[in-house]
């Protein structure tokens, strides 16, 4: 359950990129989460809501893009999705491979609502 500390790190990144006066206008935070990043999207959403609920960022929601686990094989030169975490090429069985994607845990964008959108 390190999703809570991951959520806290996301809040800190928002605070660094968005001026304090605009925190309540943070509408969405776009994340990229890889298949072997070890983060459960539902738990992360729950944790993020839990720590922002009573704060100025209570309108913020997470938009998570799941990134598949892909490897490139240096033997048969294919790049393809593979069984999660497995380094052995599913086409030719070679282990001379490297990971192309799947370990991401990134904040890509923050969406700020127009001022009138959050006025009561």
């Amino acid at each position: 359950m390190h999703e809570l500390s991951v959520a806290q790190s996301i809040v800190e990144i928002i605070q660094q990129h968005v001026p304090r006066s605009e925190w309540e206008r943070v509408a969405a935070v776009r994340l990229k989460i890889g298949a072997i990043a070890g983060v459960v999207p539902e738990s992360l959403e729950f944790s993020f809501q839990a720590i922002t609920a009573e704060s100025t960022m209570s309108h913020a929601r997470l938009e998570i893009e799941s990134i598949p686990f892909r490897i490139h094989c240096h033997t048969c030169l294919t790049t393809a999705e593979n069984e999660i975490g497995v380094a052995q090429c599913s086409s030719c069985g070679s282990t001379d491979t490297n990971i192309i994607s799947g370990s991401e845990l990134d904040v890509s964008e923050i969406e700020i609502a127009d001022p009138e959108a959050v006025r009561p």
Binding site: M1, H2, S5, V6, S9, I10, E12, I13, H17, V18, A27, L31, I36, A37, G38, V39, I84, G85, V86, A87, Q88, T95, S103, L105, D106, V107, S108, E109, I110, E111, I112, A113, D114, A117
Partner: protein, 220 residues
Amino acid sequence: MSIITVERKVLEKNDELAAKNRTVFEAHGLFVINLVSSPGSGKTSILEQTLCHLKKRMRVAVIEGDVQTDFDAQRIAKLDVPVVQIVTNGGCHLDAKLIQDALVNLTLDGMDLLIIENVGNLVCPANYDLGEHMKVVVASTTEGDDKPLKYPAMFRNASALLINKIDLLPYVRCTLAELKGNALKINPNLKVFETSCTTGQGIEEWCAWLEQQRTNLIHP
């Protein structure tokens, strides 16, 4: 509506602190390993055996991480090895900040090896770089042979695997070839040792390898 482009790693702050720790380690010529596993695999017993072997040949310090209690630090202190206990109070992993704070309580001058025993957990510690030179994962035969496939990130990020409780193999549902095969499917570069803290099997071989790794990295 406006969009702010960020493109940052969520755990960037941890990675920055880990890089600082690494600088400190390198300045002291200190080789650092991060020992990870599920709870009960025998990390602390491996550590005790390792310390008994290595403390005659090099100066070793230990940082212990646990959710509660300083039981492990007490065990290590009995071996006359400098040890600092981190109690995470519910936290499921150690992070670079906790290590930075713990280092204040250790004398690093003249130290050759620092072993950090992480919180028993096969998931969360995989994400947090502490500044170590390598992660070493312990998987015991009693956990079965499918753990590498279930928790791939941990086995992928490790440099060595200790298959512990090897003496219990005849009594448990675990096929050694299967366990090794699964681990090497995740990480073909993993160095594998078969160990038992009861019979002492594999401990000498593991310690010799560890010593060699230190020599390769610190005094090539």
